[in-house]
């Protein structure tokens, strides 16, 4: 069942020449992490804010959990959707615990339940429980963003809307937060709509990406499909589809072994310990880096329990890339049509 | 020409110019070059009389500087002693009671003699010829109040004071000829309230509005008649006679003896009727006091033109 269904949604602000969002339609599956990606002014934030009715659509329909968003009171709708923004917007006059407790209190939870939940959330986002009594100004930017995340998750909503939450964080912390978010998502499997203009971030986090330009959806697909089959020059340039290393980063070692099909190449080990091993969960770009460092033609793939699953070589990588090119139909002529056709773009996953 | 010669010439020219200016200013009119500073206290009658003094002096050829509305008696007194002013109009009994802090005297001639000799002795100030009109302190009420509380005299008022709200100048509470003196002579006189309302029209407005019941008046105030007020009878004659006269610094008078001639010429013309009429023009008709003063002197033929 689709958690979010958007039909012909349009937002025309008064005194603006063209609509900010122009007849957009798409569906988001339950538990999917969908990233809205595009340059400034493409309408991604406006679209996001129509989901929780911070902006009311000029026309079109939104179904949230199968229910028309307009049939609910706007504040009731928002209390069921987690919302996290770039500047965090933590309430400076409230301690962390009160910040996190806001929505549960709006929903009338009892205090013991709220207390337990606060502890649970702080553990989840990796903050010490002692932080409950602190004020936002006493926390670093990264810590504040974690609280923002905890606050959005507080009432355990099925859907989360996140508007460039890591945009104001330094690069080092950002990467860590992205990883942690991915980890949390693996655990909780929320339906997340995440806005960003950072392509790297989108490719790392998304199950699927909606690429937007000038208020319309240009392509809606998995990261790998977008890279291997960009719809047009705009998408190709935006995502660096020509960047082979980028492609490699989107494929895991495990998937590569599966795609190769055969399991030869169990490297001959002369009894000595191999210089390095590859983990099945690593992506191929990191694997390439390891291969180069090891200086050998191939490396064994070993899972956490120590069992050897196979071996991967330079040749394998090259062959794989050539394969995806062929599969992707990269040599197809560039389409000039930008609108999403009426049927949903549901491609096979990589 | 070298700059040295230029500046030298210029310097000498400047010195000559300054000397000339000094000499010229030294011979001016029939008086010393310094202007006579005439002051006045803080109500209309003082402004009018003070202005008349100033005009008389100018007519005599003096240069005059005016400092109207100095404040109450103590302020004017301090100013003249310090030399900020040279003369101002003062009331004989005010000098006696408030400045010299002596007991009241009934005979006006004796009041004058006393204040004159004491002022000369203590302050190096003197008194010129006083005018005939009597402006004493009074207590007035509306006819309605008089009827309601049955008061006609100060004795009546002394008894009923606790039920009534008084309003008057700020110093009325402290001056010997204020509430304290009245209490001493009549007993009683502990008002329900004593509001400070200055020496201007405000106290009359307050009475009209009903904010106070009894107003402290000067008996030549124009608004007594126009507001149809009843001035109560001073049955124990607490209030003496107050005649206005110029109080002058002796040193100023010595350097400019013509001051006395000029002001004494004016003195006898200010009678009760005259002053009442002048007060009315300023307080009721709203004319400028300087205009009223000049008009009177003109009509009396005192100004030579």
């Amino acid at each position: 069942m689709s958690a979010i269904v958007v039909e012909n949604l349009t937002q025309q602000f008064p005194n603006e020449l063209r609509p900010a969002v122009d007849q957009v339609s798409f569906e988001v599956e339950d538990g999917a992490f969908v990233v809205l990606l595009g340059p400034s002014g493409c309408g991604k934030t406006t679209l996001l804010k129509m989901i929780n009715r911070l902006y009311e659509p000029t026309s079109g329909r939104i179904l949230v959990g199968g229910v028309d968003a307009r049939s609910l009171k706007d504040t009731d709708l928002r209390r069921r959707i987690g919302y996290a923004i770039q500047q965090t917007g933590l309430f400076p006059h409230m301690r962390i615990e009160r910040n996190i407790a806001v929505v549960p209190r709006l929903l009338g939870w009892e205090q013991p339940r709220i207390n337990a939940r606060i502890d649970e959330l702080l553990d989840l986002v990796g903050l010490p429980r002692a932080y409950r009594m602190r004020y936002p100004r006493q926390l670093s930017g990264g810590e504040q963003q974690r609280v923002g995340l905890a606050r959005a998750l507080a009432a355990d909503p099925a859907i989360m809307l996140m508007d460039e939450p890591f945009g104001a964080i330094d690069a080092i912390t950002r990467t860590r937060l992205q990883d942690e978010l991915a980890g949390i998502q693996r655990k909780l499997r929320k339906t997340i709509m995440f806005v960003t203009h950072d392509v790297e971030e989108a490719l790392r986090l998304a199950d699927k990406i909606i690429i937007m330009r000038a208020g319309t959806i240009v392509q809606y697909d998995t990261p790998l499909n977008i890279i291997t089959r960009p719809r047009d020059k705009f998408v190709r340039d935006l995502t660096g589809a020509d960047d082979m290393l980028r492609r490699l980063s989107l494929i895991s070692v495990r998937d590569a072994l599966a795609m190769r099909g055969h399991n030869n190449g169990l490297a001959a080990t002369n009894g000595a310990a191999p210089p390095a091993t590859l983990s099945p969960d690593e992506n191929l770009r990191d694997a390439l880096s390891q291969l180069l460092r090891a200086g050998t033609k191939s490396l064994p793939v070993v899972d956490p329990s120590g069992k050897q699953l196979g071996a991967l070589s330079f040749e394998d990588l090259r062959a794989l890339l050539a394969n995806t090119e062929a599969v992707a139909g990269y040599s197809d002529p560039i389409r000039t049509e930008h609108r999403v056709p009426a049927e949903r773009t549901e491609n096979q996953p990589a | 020409m070298s700059s040295k010669t230029m500046s030298g010439r210029f310097g000498r020219l400047l010195a000559l110019g300054m000397l000339l200016a000094l000499v010229l200013s030294a011979c001016g009119g029939s008086a010393s070059s310094a202007p006579i500073k005439v002051g006045s206290k803080d109500f209309s009658e003082e402004f009018i009389v003070g202005e008349m003094y100033a005009l008389m002096l100018e007519n005599e050829g003096f240069k005059v500087e005016r400092k109207h509305n100095l404040g109450g008696t103590p302020v004017a007194q301090a100013a003249i002693i310090k030399g900020d002013i040279d003369l101002y109009p003062e009331y004989t009994s005010t000098g006696l009671l408030t400045v010299l802090k002596k007991a009241p005297i009934a005979d006006p001639a004796q009041i004058l003699a006393t204040v004159k000799s004491e002022y000369e002795k203590q302050f190096k100030l003197t008194w010129l010829t006083p005018s005939p009109f009597n402006d004493t302190n009074g207590l007035a009420v509306t006819q309605a109040t008089a009827d309601k509380y049955g008061i006609k005299t100060y004795s009546d008022l002394a008894a009923k004071a606790a039920e009534l709200r008084f309003g008057g100048p700020a110093e009325f509470a402290e001056r010997e000829d204020g509430i304290k003196g009245l209490a001493k002579t009549y007993g009683g006189f502990v008002p329900k309230e004593l509001k400070q309302l200055g020496t201007g029209p405000l106290r009359y407005d307050a009475l009209k509005n009903g904010d106070i019941d009894v107003v402290v008046v000067f008996t030549t105030d124009a608004r007594i008649a126009s507001d149809k007020l009843v001035v109560l009878q001073d049955d124990k004659t607490f209030y003496p006679i107050y005649n206005i006269a110029p109080v002058v610094r002796q040193d100023t008078l010595q350097s400019n003896p013509k001051i006395a001639d000029a002001l004494n010429k004016l003195a006898p013309l200010l009678t009760d009727d005259v002053i009442a009429g002048l007060n009315a023009q300023v307080d009721i008709e709203g004319k400028e006091f300087a205009v009223v003063a000049k008009a009177f002197l003109d009509s009396a033929g005192l100004l030579k033109k």
Partner: protein, 213 residues
Amino acid sequence: MKLLVESYQYFLENQARFWQALGQHLTLSMTALAISMLVGVPLGIWISRRARIAELVINGFGALRLVPSLAILFLALPYLGTGFRPALFALTVLAFPPVLINTYAGIHNVDRAVVEAARGMGMEPNQVLRQIELPIAFPAMIAGIRTAAVEVIASATLAAFIGGGGLGDFITRGFALYEPRIMLVGALPVALLALVSEAALASLQRRFDVVSA
């Protein structure tokens, strides 16, 4: 020093009148402050939502601040008579702009992100106002009241000019009689009152200031 002793003596001799004057002074000041808060705070909140009206109102009252209180006092006399009423009017006019302008600024300066987060989380508009905007704006509002309080306590001495009583009576009487010791009996308590209010409200403001570290 001798002056202070004389002042104290005068105070001792006139205690009844002093306490009465003090009472009048405080009544006048507190009433003016109360009215300005009762009207100024809600108005400040109201205009914080309406940018164009806000500009008009703020500029208007900003200009009003330039008119000397004494002038307003005398202008009010023909309409309000003498005594307590015109004094209250003039002092309320004095107190109003800082309260209004600071309330407006306090709410206006609340971080937009904070308000957006509050709305996005599902707070009703009046919940956003009461739980988020007002508490955050509170120190600014206190600052406005603090300014108003000090100005009002000092300016309440003007009431003495029009029969409104208060500690200003001692000042005017001292001036009329040319007796500084009497003036001090009025002036010193006024200064003290002003200082105490300033200190008290400043500490209150500090206590609630959670935004700046």
